[in-house]
């Protein structure tokens, strides 16, 4: 059993404990799908091969659909949970792009996407089993539908990777390389998550200490109104 599967199983009751938390989670998935779409669109534009461009476009189209499906379900759940209208689920699904294709090159890009899709399959299968056990048919069938596409994604990226690599060994090296790279990024992201909080707290302290400057600024820079000559 892989670490992903073990962790996903362990976290299931926590992650899906309430409609509100589920809505949050699925909204996050929608964002991930949207981000994947952006990277695939970029790949389609940049790859020298029209064949691969077509494959990336088809794949991007699937991910757009997935983003919509996850987003829609997230909103249904948010409505059930009565989530406040200010909550992120109500906002348009908008992720940023990491331009993976540019940063990694096509070979490692394919390896990275393959690894991601393969992990998604493992993860989604765990969720489907959990939802079925819980009698959450709707969520189970949502993921089952999406899983069909994810299998296709994992297969074609693997095929293209081995086709593009000089040798089988080179393809496997690429797979190992992106796994290492991803582990490093996960570590960085965790570090950032922590650092962000430290920064926030420390900045609030700075803010408190800077309070007297508020008076200074009000005195030195009174608000103006009406016309000011240039």
């Amino acid at each position: 059993m892989s670490l992903t599967v073990a962790l996903a199983r362990m976290l299931n009751p926590l992650v899906w404990r309430s409609p509100a938390r589920s809505a949050d989670k699925l909204h996050g998935f929608a964002l991930a799908e949207h981000g994947s779409m952006l990277d695939l669109r970029l790949a389609a534009r940049l790859t020298p091969s029209p064949t691969r461009a077509a494959a990336y476009l088809r794949h991007a189209d699937d991910e757009t659909r997935h983003a919509q499906m996850f987003g829609k379900r997230a909103r249904q759940l948010a409505r059930e949970a009565g989530l406040a209208r200010g909550h992120a689920v109500w906002e348009p699904i908008r992720a940023d792009s990491e331009q993976l294709f540019v940063g990694l090159g096509e070979l490692d890009f394919l390896a990275f996407v393959h690894v991601g899709e393969a992990r998604a399959i493992e993860q989604f299968l765990v969720y489907v089993a959990y939802f079925q056990a819980q009698g959450r048919e709707r969520d189970a069938s949502l993921l089952t539908t999406i899983l069909v596409d994810e299998h296709r994604h994992a297969d074609y990226t693997r095929a293209l990777l081995f086709e593009l690599a000089d040798s089988e060994a080179a393809a496997r090296r690429a797979l190992r390389r992106v796994r290492r790279w991803e582990a490093w990024r996960t570590w960085l992201r965790a570090g950032r998550f922590l650092a962000e909080r430290v920064y926030m707290v420390a900045m609030l302290l700075v803010y408190l200490l800077a309070a007297p400057l508020g008076l200074l600024v009000r005195w030195a820079r009174p608000l103006t109104r009406g016309w000011r000559d240039a």
Binding site: T4, L7, A8, L11, L14, V15, G28, F29, L31, A32, G35, S36, L38, D39, R45, L46, A95, D96, S97, E98, Q99, L100, V102, F112, V113, G116, E117, R119, A120, Q123, F124, R185, R189, G191, R192, F193, A195, E196, V198, Y199, A202, M203, V206, A210, L213, L216, V217, W219, A220, R221
Partner: protein, 69 residues
Amino acid sequence: MSTPGKRPKRSLLRRLGARLRTSGALVLHFLHPARFVLAPLLIVLLFAGVLLWLTGGLAYVAPFVYALF
């Protein structure tokens, strides 16, 4: 359509030099006679800058990664 360009490489030292010059210009900006009273804001800037440098940038959403938690 275009491909992203190859960026000219610069040595770390030169980049550091450029950043230092900008920092210097920023200090001068706030010490300018017209905004001399704003000079104390430099202290806030300094604290914020050091904190930011120590803690790195802010996070983003990862593509192809469905967060476990």
